[in-house]
Symmetry: C2
Subunit: 152 residues, 2 copies
C-alpha cells in the first residue's frame, strides 16, 4: 500500500538530485508507520521487519538527507539519542525531569511567548528542536501533597 507521503518524499529526493533507493523508501515507510517519535536505532528495527539486513549507518544517512530536505526532523527529548519524526504537524515536547514522561503540546500555545520574545529581542522562536523541561502533573502532585509523598 503506497503511502502518498512516502511517494511525495521520494519525488522530492529525486527532484533534489538524489536517488530513489530501496533503503530510503524503507526508512520513510518506517517513519510513516511509526506515529510516535523513534530513535535511529528503533527505526532501523522497524525497517528490519521488511528488510532484515538494514544498516544503521544508512538509516543515519537517510535521516540526515530527509532533514536537509525538510521531510523529517530530529528532536532532543532528554539525554539519550535523538528522536525522529516526519515533518507534519508542528508540536512541542514537555519532558518531566523526574519521571521522563513526555507531554505533547501544539504550536499555538507558544504564540504569546513568541510575540513577547520577538518584541523584546527580535528573535523568531521556533522551539521544535529541543524539549522543554519541568515536572509533570503526576510528579507535581506526588511531591506537593505530603501524605502521598514518596521517594523513588
Amino acid at each position: 500500500m503506497p503511502d502518498e507521503r512516502v511517494e511525495a518524499a521520494m519525488e522530492r529526493i529525486r527532484a533534489s538530485g538524489g536517488r530513489a533507493t530501496v533503503d530510503r523508501r524503507a526508512v520513510l515507510e518506517a517513519l510513516v508507520r511509526n506515529q510516535d517519535h523513534a530513535t535511529a536505532e528503533e527505526l532501523a528495527e522497524l525497517v528490519r521487519a521488511e528488510h532484515p539486513d538494514c544498516n544503521l549507518a544508512t538509516v543515519y544517512r537517510t535521516l540526515e538527507l530527509l532533514e536537509r530536505l525538510g521531510i523529517a526532523f530530529h528532536v532532543h527529548l532528554g539525554h539519550g539519542p535523538s528522536q525522529w519524526h516526519l515533518a507534519e504537524a508542528v508540536h512541542h515536547h514537555l519532558v518531566c525531569d523526574e519521571c521522563g514522561a513526555v507531554v505533547e503540546v501544539g504550536d499555538a500555545v507558544f504564540d504569546p511567548l513568541r510575540r513577547r520574545i520577538l518584541a523584546d529581542t527580535g528573535f523568531v522562536l521556533d522551539p521544535h528542536h529541543f524539549s522543554l523541561s519541568g515536572r509533570c502533573a503526576r510528579c507535581t502532585a506526588a511531591s506537593s501533597s505530603p501524605s502521598s509523598k514518596r521517594k523513588g
Copy 2:
C-alpha cells in the same frame, strides 16, 4: 580572594556529607571566574591555570555533585557538549538555528506560557534544561529583506 559563593558552596558540600577538597574548590572557582557558560573541558582548562594537572573525570564528577546539590546546572545549547553555569539568576537560552548565536532571556517571559501549560496539562514548566531554537534578529533580517540576502 575567597569568594563568598565558593565558601557557601563548600559549606554545603560539607553539610551534605561530602569532603571539601582542593579539586572541588578549584572547579567552583572556575565556575565563578567564568561568567558565561563553559563546557566541562573548558572548565578543566580554567582550573589548570592554577592546578596544572586537573583531571577531566574529576571535573565531571564535581559538576555532577554540584548539580545534585543545586549549586550548578548544565544546559544543552546545541549538539555539542553540555554547558555549565552556577545556579544563580534563572535564565533561558534562545539559540539561532542558522548562526548559533545565543540570546539570554529572563525567566519572567515564560510566565504566560507557564500558566497556560499548567492550566492545559498540569505540567509545571521549568524550561532551563534545554535551549529554545529559532532564528535570531540578524539572520531573520538577512533572509527576509531580499536586497540584503546573503549566503554564509
